[in-house]
Symmetry: C2
Subunit: 357 residues, 2 copies
């Protein structure tokens, strides 16, 4: 199923497996999201919808997607606040587990869930296993910038990362950017507190040496700083999961702060209200550009299969965006590409260490 | 001079030492900044202005601050791109060095410079020395939030921090918040990737144990996440210099991104332009609230003396804000308070480790 990019397979529909019960709103948002995703995906696509069959039958009929969907009944749902360990032990037969299992069994090219992040990662590792010698998947954020979208990873799955792990993120991030944004040679930056060689801790300095010494299918830019993320300096920005998670959540907090400032500006005075009324269309367009839903969905990289995590609070438009991302990744030979580059990485990097040391 | 908060000393003017040549614009902005700071500072204040005497005599006369200023000629200026090691070896006699030296000699209660950050830190360590067993100063950012200002530290001076160092930041940050924002018992949060006890790496978990076990003059809130910064969840947020620097610069980049979006919204369409014209006053007020100058100035904490770093690109209003901050810190027994708390920290924290281990 993952070879669907082959010419022979083009006539077959791409199958996406959906955790239809996941997220803050469940099927009432996920199924309309499935319907909306049809407009975003080029080509033939079908859906495996995992969840409560009675609820899903009704939602599917209402959304008009019965013709392209197959409902798979699941007995249980993983709670949004479930502990990952609990989800691993008790999750079998849940809509989330079964959505990932469809990918393992080769029935679907990719899975999408808006459920509990930790549970989805734990179940995905258990069911799909990690590729090569990787220990844990990396989680990617698609970050809107002045120049487009930058893929930032890891944003929370790997709290402590050595130089080799950061180098693997660069390889996986590069492959991800090629698969989703069709860049021929993406640029990759390593997040640090300055751009000079002697800046930062041992892990980033070590990763910088490995990335300078290796031969990769991306352009390595060296160190970048925090403000380079929103500037769009690089297509891919690599960091450890601790720093990446804090940078991402700091940005989410700041976005809410700006929205609050803007709302206050346009609601507390008469001239502000009048201005907002007059500029309604450009303000609405700006709100749409800044809407997190328009960039919703981040995949776990490094698994033997494709799993996309949607924001739990995503609306139907956000779910549709996450499904399109899964389709983009599922249609290409994404997992194979990552595997080939990781296999090439170790020997290519060895001589570089000797030169530098 | 640092005992100026004493009743006997209240009649004496508070003396602030200024690197008048520092920053992107030098005396043409720094001296007007000195003039503007007079309106922000309650009480009697005088300035020692270090720099080229010919340039300063003219600037001081133009700004009308001759009566409260004493010009101290300095032979040289530290370049904005100078390496810290070079500044330490060759910086003696520069306007920056002499501004810090005035604090060491007890002639001034605090120094302010808009010059090179690394050079200012290196010269301050060399001239003033660190308090107690501290290794390097911590740099504080005053972060605007939905509830006021949160002090975030360290934002770049200490790249690798163990649990003890993070705990010291909490003590210094608490003392800083009391001195500047006059809070009786500031709240302190430890930045992490989640709020549960088992989240994060060993250093933050260790600091969490020390902070729970010790007795401090602040309210320890436990772990906070990136979005808690702009939310204003805590008065003080503690993190290592790597994460803090990246969070701060990520926020600066995002702020520029938002301003670009806003500008585009209000300039590319006729209705946008008309709306901006109508809502000019509230928009200008919002711009002022978001102006980095209005929160300019971050001190180095942990030195035997007070040094405030202003942003290099600050305008006169920004310089004035940094000078007011120096005056607030200089008027209180800030350094003494930090020293007493650090001395108390170690014995208070020991039993906690035993209980937890």
């Amino acid at each position: 199923m993952r070879g669907i990019g082959d010419l022979n397979a083009l006539a077959e529909p791409l199958v996406i497996s959906i955790d239809a019960m996941g997220g803050d709103h469940g099927p009432s948002v996920v199924i309309p999201g499935v319907a909306r995703s049809r407009k975003l995906i080029m080509g033939n696509v079908r859906f495996l919808l995992h969840g409560d069959s009675a609820m899903l039958t009704e939602a599917v009929a209402r959304a008009g997607v019965a013709g392209i969907s197959e409902i798979r009944h699941a007995e249980s749902v993983i709670a949004m606040d479930a502990k990952p360990a609990h989800a691993m032990r008790r999750g079998k037969g849940s809509s989330m587990w079964n959505a990932v299992e469809s990918v393992r069994a080769g029935e679907a090219a990719a899975a999408v869930s808006a459920g509990n992040t930790g549970a989805l990662m734990a179940i995905s590792r258990l069911v799909l296993r990690m590729a090569g010698n990787l220990d844990r998947p990396a989680l990617v954020a698609n970050w809107p910038t002045l120049r487009g979208i930058t893929a930032v990873l890891d944003v929370g799955a790997n709290i402590v990362c050595d130089a080799e792990r950061l180098t693997e993120f660069a390889v996986m991030g590069g492959a991800y950017h090629r698969a989703v944004y069709h860049s021929s040679r993406p640029s990759v930056g390593l997040l640090n507190v300055g751009t000079e060689h002697d800046k930062g801790h041992e892990e980033v300095k070590g990763a910088d040496r490995l990335l300078r010494g290796g031969e990769f299918d991306f352009e390595y830019l060296g160190f970048v700083e925090g403000d380079d993320i929103a500037k769009g300096t690089a297509d891919v920005i690599v960091t450890d999961g601790f720093t990446g998670n804090i940078a991402l959540k700091t940005a989410e907090g700041l976005a809410r702060f700006f929205r609050a400032q803007l709302r206050q500006t346009f609601t507390t005075s008469l001239s502000g209200k009048a201005g907002a009324l007059l500029a309604r269309r450009p303000l609405t367009e700006m709100a749409a550009r800044l809407d997190p839903g328009s960039i919703n969905g981040g995949p776990f990289l490094g698994l033997n299969g494709i799993v996309v995590k949607s924001h739990g609070g995503a609306d139907a438009g956000g779910i549709a965006t996450a499904i399109r991302l899964a389709a983009d990744l599922g249609a290409g030979d994404f997992a194979g590409e990552i595997g080939r580059h990781l296999a090439r990485m170790a020997p290519a990097a060895e001589p570089a260490r000797e030169i530098v040391a």
